[in-house]
């Protein structure tokens, strides 16, 4: 699927978004998470919580999310969880919206961009918060 061009997705939402919205792979609680953050999109009230299990040497062994969120935000959170799993803390922190959009195979309109970026900023907060101690 990563080989498909954006134009392959029809209508407002790409097939990847539809699919990840209907069947997110990483939605749910993550017991034992040691890097957790939650934030809200002030424009709509959407809320996303990212939970990471970070191994002592700094590798993210698992990531999950919970959220009251729209299709774009949910799909984005799911992709973010996908992308960070197995990565180092530094690699995860370097993740950027273009990486997420590449997987989503979607053009996101300006007003929905925050739907796509909220999971990333929650990720950054989670990494930040856990980096301190």
């Amino acid at each position: 699927m990563t080989g498909a061009t954006p134009s392959a997705s029809s209508g407002l939402y790409s097939d990847v978004i539809r699919d990840r919205w209907r069947r997110p792979r990483h939605r749910g609680e993550l017991p034992g998470a040691n890097a957790v953050a939650e934030d809200v999109n002030p424009l709509c009230g959407d809320r996303v919580r990212m939970m990471l299990a970070v191994a002592p040497e700094g590798r993210i062994t698992e990531a999950r999310f919970l959220g009251d969120s729209c299709a774009i935000c949910t799909a984005s959170a799911d992709v973010v969880a996908d992308l960070v799993s197995g990565r180092s803390r530094g690699e995860a922190a370097a993740l950027d919206v273009s990486d997420v959009l590449a997987v989503l195979q979607a053009e996101i309109r300006p007003t929905r961009m925050r739907c796509a970026t909220l999971p990333l900023s929650v990720l950054a907060q989670a990494l930040d918060g856990s980096a301190k101690p």
């Binding site: 939402y13 959407d46 809320r47 299709a71």
Partner: protein, 405 residues
């Protein structure tokens, strides 16, 4: 002729094509569209008469001042205010509510109580939170019942001799509830509390009469009632306005100034610091004249029919929930709903694909969202130019949505 047939051609924006379809604008509750007459009045003003107001001896200054003050007369008439000095121009509902909260705030003491409701727009909540924090006052909220109406028995229990202010919406911007202003004012009066009514969702749709409502303050925005952005109205009962120190300072609102002190101007200018929104006042006059020409009763009736059609139609669609009072109860020109399995954002985005503009989200009423147990709703709101056919299109489109994502 139906009101939409009569008015559609007055709104240039209705020529817009959105995503290949003619625009269906169901977001007047957020901000209404403007008839040509409003734009023309502002253009004429800028092209012929613009100058600053009040302090000017020259011809343009005189014309601008006269036009600005004529807007005050228009508002006075439109809301049935006893006198023109009771009409203060603000920059919008939020500005007016903030102004009056700060102004009343200066008179509050530690332990005084402010009562709001669970269905307030943030603009009638946050200013009171700030005041309560600054003055050590206590903020309480009247709860709502399942159907989105206020629990007036609970209100009675909240009222105490320390209640100084009761601030509430005339019409809810989410569930459309029309609150019983006269009744609430009566009970607040009994404990000598001031009443502040957020009329943002009422002014565009209901005939207003300050003498009948008897509230102390009534606040609304022009941009939701076919007028321009940038201006609003604060009505205040003269005796109360006179008793208050102005909350905000600047030019225009003073009589004499020394470095260390100032003497306030007369009403209403005492509460209008700085150069006012002059062109916007001219536009507001035109909007009021447009509404008056159509007739507020006729407008209410037209919008109520659309509201009922929407409410009943949506309720018949499987998986759709409609919030607020039942269809047999009068409500404002607003219907909030949810589609099972779809986030409100996605509902709005999918409708936009068909050229239909509705709003989605918390509608600046997060405490109410929490009460309803949702993150947000999708919301259709109506104006004079909306038609039953547009509502039918909304209904069939919503009916097809669950398979869309």
């Amino acid at each position: 002729m139906r009101l939409d047939e009569l008015t559609r051609s007055d709104f240039p924006i209705l020529q817009r094509i959105v995503n290949g379809r003619p625009l269906v604008y169901f977001d007047s509750g957020a901000s209404s569209q403007k008839p040509r007459a409003v734009l023309e009045a502002m253009n004429r003003y800028y092209e012929r008469s613009h100058a600053n107001v009040h302090r000017s001896i020259h011809t343009l200054g005189e014309e601008a001042t006269e036009l600005y003050e004529l807007a005050r007369d228009a508002v006075q008439r439109f809301i049935g205010a006893p006198s023109r000095e009771e009409v203060v121009f603000t920059r919008g509902t939020t500005d007016g509510l903030g102004l009056i909260a700060e102004t009343i705030g200066r008179t509050l003491r530690r332990g005084d109580e402010i009562v709001v409701t669970e269905l307030e727009h943030h603009s009638n909540l946050i200013p009171w939170q700030l005041v309560a924090r600054d003055r050590g006052a206590v903020l309480k909220a009247i709860p709502i019942r399942e159907d989105g109406t206020l629990d007036l028995d609970a209100f009675d229990r909240l009222l105490t001799p320390r209640t100084r202010v009761v601030a509430f919406a005339h019409v809810s911007n989410v569930v459309g509830t029309i609150n019983p202003v006269i009744e609430i004012v009566r009970r607040a009066r009994a404990v000598n509390a001031l009443t502040v009514v957020d009329g943002a969702q009422a002014a565009p749709h209901l005939r207003l009469d300050m003498s009948a409502l008897e509230c102390d303050f009534y606040v609304f925005s022009a941009h939701k009632m076919l007028g321009p952005t940038g201006i609003g109205v604060l009505y205040g009962r003269r005796a109360v306005l006179e008793s208050l120190e102005p909350g905000r300072g600047g030019s225009e609102m003073i009589k004499e100034v020394w470095i260390d002190r100032a003497q306030w101007n007369d009403l209403p200018w005492r509460f209008e610091p700085g150069t006012p929104p002059i062109a916007e006042a001219v536009g507001l006059t035109a909007a009021i004249e447009y509404l008056e020409k159509l007739g507020m009763d006729r407008i209410s009736e037209h919008e109520r029919a659309l509201t009922r059609q929407t409410q009943e139609g949506l309720a018949r669609i499987p998986g759709v929930t409609v919030y607020g009072p039942p269809a047999n109860v009068e409500r404002g020109a607003v219907v909030s709903f949810a589609v099972e399995g779809l986030h409100p954002h996605d509902v709005a985005a999918l409708l936009d694909e068909e050229g239909i503009a509705v709003r989605a989200g918390h509608h600046c009423a997060m405490p109410l969202m929490r009460r309803l147990g949702v993150v947000g709703t999708s919301r259709a709101t109506f104006s004079v130019f909306n038609s039953p056919d547009e509502v039918s299109l909304l209904l069939t489109t919503v009916a097809g949505l669950r398979s869309a994502l």
